[in-house]
């Protein structure tokens, strides 16, 4: 039985080998489904719930793209990728877009031949310590034992930070976040370091959150964003401008609830262009003019996505911080729709 599929696949492979790869957007439309590389499970950002429905901050962006391209936010297949498999899955074409809290770095952008089309979450590495350690700043951690995930950029950042401040530390290597938390709570290390968003989520679920503090220092820049392959710029444009449509929507006060009403009544020319009431923005990236309207209607604007998944009303309780709009002192700044 299985042999059939194998041989069928090999045959199909042989037949298709000569044909050149079509543009990603055409593949997605032909397939009727967006394949989104996602996390194997990260609180608030992307994980399936008890019924197998994917939810989270990154997942919402996948759904927005599906709504923009295919008109249905549910036409997404989520492929869980691990830290090791994510970039190969994207490079080999197994996924159309990777939205999996991946840090935008020089070598990933250039050497691995990817395009980070936007930054949907500005993160940074922080430290959590027990309150009774009596430490108020990461600069006081000289000689501390630190729980750290192996094989991540956080490990390198940690080494850089301690070296720059002329301090020493003893690393306690752990495999994943849950193990880190377990070790930290068991007292195997004085401090626990990972991205600040992860620290906040861990702290929120501890039995005694009031006894743990997250130190004010953020020791690295972790711009996380959607990634596409080099060379298919049209697809990159679609992902980029779908995201910026959500940011612009927040800026202009357009929400999932009022998008229809705003489209009908607004006199702001940029809003009218964004929602496809006038101009032909969609046609310029190979979609129809209402792509942004559908994306907003499906998942809400950037602020709504943030609040619903990781914001202060959720148990994770992240403040907007760097991810506030530029008008409110943050870094989220969408180029103009014109």
């Amino acid at each position: 039985m299985h042999k059939t599929i194998l041989i069928g696949a090999l045959t199909a492979a042989g037949l298709a080998a000569g044909a050149s790869a079509a543009a990603t957007v055409d593949d997605v439309k032909a397939r009727g489904e967006l394949i989104c590389g996602s996390n194997t499970g990260l609180t608030g950002f992307g994980a399936p719930d008890a019924n197998g429905n994917w939810q989270g901050f990154d997942v919402a962006l996948c759904r927005a793209i599906a709504a923009a391209v295919l008109g249905d936010p549910n036409k997404v297949r989520f492929v869980p990728t691990t830290g090791e498999t994510r970039f190969t899955a994207l490079a080999s074409g197994e996924v159309d877009v990777l939205i999996r809290n991946s840090t935008w770095t020089f070598s990933r952008d250039t050497e691995l031949a990817f395009d980070f089309v936007a930054v949907n979450y500005y993160d940074g590495q922080g430290f959590m310590v027990k309150k009774d350690l009596g430490v108020a700043s990461a600069k006081e951690l000289d000689g501390a034992t630190v729980c750290i995930q192996t094989g991540t950029t956080t490990e390198l950042n940690l080494a850089d930070f301690f070296k720059a401040n002329n301090m020493t530390y003893t690393p306690v290597n752990v495999q994943d976040d849950s193990q880190a938390q377990q070790q930290y709570l068991a007292g195997a290390c004085d401090a626990y370091t990972t991205d600040a968003s992860g620290l906040a989520a861990s702290r929120a679920t501890m039995a005694d959150p009031e006894n743990h503090i997250i130190l004010p220092e953020i020791i690295s820049k972790e711009p996380l964003g959607p990634v596409v392959r080099h060379g298919d710029n049209n697809w990159g444009d679609i992902v980029r401008w779908t995201f910026y449509a959500l940011v612009t929507a927040e800026e202009k006060g357009i929400t999932a609830a009022n998008v229809e009403e705003v489209a009908a009544s607004s006199t702001d020319p940029e809003v009218r262009r964004l929602l496809g009431v006038e101009g032909d923005m969609g046609a310029k990236i190979g979609l129809d003019n209402e792509f942004a309207k559908r994306a907003i209607a499906a998942v809400g604007n950037y602020g709504e996505i943030f609040e619903a998944n990781i914001g202060e009303a959720t148990p994770i309780g992240l403040a907007r911080g760097l991810n506030a709009l530029w008008t409110q002192g943050g870094l989220q700044y969408a180029p103009p729709f014109r």
Partner: protein, 484 residues
């Protein structure tokens, strides 16, 4: 005699004394304790230390188990309930298993279709009955009846629609009747289990498995037609070529044509929905059943006098054994995608199954070669002197003995293979141990839970592996023909 004796000696006991009970230190529990636990100062010391360690372990774990919480919606709620038990109390939060057991068992398999994997699991044992208990009618009956009762009970518990439960009950009753009336015929269930299982798990059109079976039928037909004239290897090769040609070209077209004429089938479930023990058992059972024949062939190939066959077998075995399974899994998940043209959708579970099968087959080949090497040369010569050809000799004389010797090694490899299926989490599949647990922990309600999922999954793995181990011991006892 006794009378004379009684007459001459005055003090002779004429009744037998009842046997006295052995001294208290030489009987019962005390004797056992003295012999086994306190037979010297060193052993006494060791016993006391061991008792102390057990005491400490139990004291640490017992409150945690005694305060187990089964009903809660989140880890926080669990903690509140445990905290109510007293100051500093600890407690296990099994509520997470209660809340997410279905993902541990089935992954994302659609809930209304749970009856399909359950039925496939039950049928697995019916199909295994003639293999595991060949010629033991009573055991076959028991296994079939147990599997049937299990499936029906589980379906009821899952709240499956009545129609399906009724149909399954009829099917299981029919199989039981078959096992009772004609146990030999039960082999047909085994033969057709693979396509039926495929259909139940993945769904889709009925015709895909049917036309695939037609390929095997073609293989068999060519083999039977040619075998008397050209011998086993050539006939088998010709049959394989014919079958491969069938699968490669007309198969898909015929299947499509048939399904357009008569579209019957089950709701299709893509591989991405598989997870938990459903995934582990699918990969494990498929790999186990395909790796055994492949391993036997490789072991025979390695002993062959034919240069190319031997070189290929040795190369395959040494290459696969020399590479870690993780590497093979990454090959399955990543490299194959580079070799195949973009857009080719080659099922990830299938890719993993193929490489896990290869991996197990390479190890099995060496285990079986050990069995072959243990056979005295005389057995080969005896088979030759009877005028048996190579395949007859292998089938009738060599392999039955060699495989019997290799049973512990083979089962050990199987157990290892089954546990290795958890490694697929590294390629993004949802194995029960790490994949599903990670998803569960990503839920803010259960973030921070640590031991409970591991204990639960570990316990189920233990049950399955222990079952395999007990079966292997049964088989060894049953097949023991020597007089040691």
């Amino acid at each position: 005699m006794s009378e004379t004796h009684a007459a001459t000696v005055s003090y002779v006991r004429d009744t037998m004394l009842p046997p006295a009970e052995a001294p208290v230190t030489e009987r019962g529990a005390i004797k056992w304790l003295r012999e086994n636990l306190f037979s010297g100062w060193l052993n006494t010391l060791l016993t006391l230390i061991a008792l102390y360690i057990i005491f400490v372990a139990v004291r640490a774990v017992m409150p945690w188990l005694m305060n187990s919480v089964w009903n809660a919606a989140s880890l926080g709620e669990c903690r509140q309930i445990v905290a109510a038990a007293g100051e500093g109390a600890t407690g296990a939060c099994w509520a997470v298993i209660r809340d997410r057991w279905h993902q541990y068992m089935f992954g994302f398999y659609p809930r209304e279709l749970y009856w399909r994997p359950v039925l496939a699991f039950g049928l697995l044992f019916v199909a295994l009955a003639p293999v595991l208990y060949y010629g033991n009618r009573r055991a076959e009956l028991t296994l079939t009846a147990t599997a049937g009762a299990f499936v029906i009970a589980v379906l009821f518990a899952l709240g499956t629609p009545f129609g399906i439960v009724a149909a399954v009950t009829v099917l299981m009753a029919a199989l039981l009747a078959l096992a009772w009336a004609a146990p030999k015929r039960l082999v047909w269930v085994t033969v057709f289990y693979a396509p039926v299982c495929y259909l139940l798990l993945w769904g889709g059109s009925v015709w895909a498995p049917v036309t695939a079976i037609a390929g095997f039928a073609l293989l068999a037909a060519v083999f039977v037609a040619l075998q008397p004239r050209v011998g086993v290897p050539v006939a088998l090769g010709a049959g394989l070529v014919a079958a491969v040609l069938w699968w490669a070209y007309p198969d898909a077209t015929v299947a499509r044509a048939l399904s357009s004429i008569l579209p019957i089938g089950l709701t299709a479930v893509p591989s991405t929905q598989f997870g938990g023990f459903l995934l582990a058992i699918t990969i494990g059972v498929t790999a186990i059943s395909f790796s055994l024949p492949l391993g036997i062939l490789l072991a025979l190939g390695r002993q062959s006098n034919m240069l190319i066959v031997k070189a290929l077998s040795v190369g395959f075995i040494e290459f696969i054994r020399g590479v870690p399974l993780i590497t093979l899994l990454f090959t399955a998940s990543l490299l194959l995608q580079y070799f195949l043209p973009p857009g080719t959708n080659f099922d990830i579970i299938l890719r993993v199954i193929i490489l896990v099968t290869f991996f197990a087959a390479a190890y099995l080949a060496e285990v079986i070669r050990g069995g072959l090497a243990a056979l005295p040369r005389g057995q080969y010569e005896a088979a030759d002197s009877l005028g048996l050809d190579y395949w007859q000799a292998q089938r009738l004389v060599i392999l039955p003995q060699a495989l019997k010797i290799s049973i512990p090694g083979i089962v050990s490899t199987f157990i290892g293979l089954f546990k290795d299926t958890t490694l697929v989490s590294f390629v993004g599949l949802m194995d029960p141990l790490r994949g599903v647990t990670q998803i569960v922990r990503a839920d803010i309600n259960w973030k921070g839970i640590y031991w409970e999922p591991y204990i639960f999954v570990g316990a189920i793995f233990f049950l399955m592996c222990y079952g395999m181990s007990r079966y292997s011991m049964y088989l060894e006892r049953k097949l023991r023909t020597d007089h040691r």
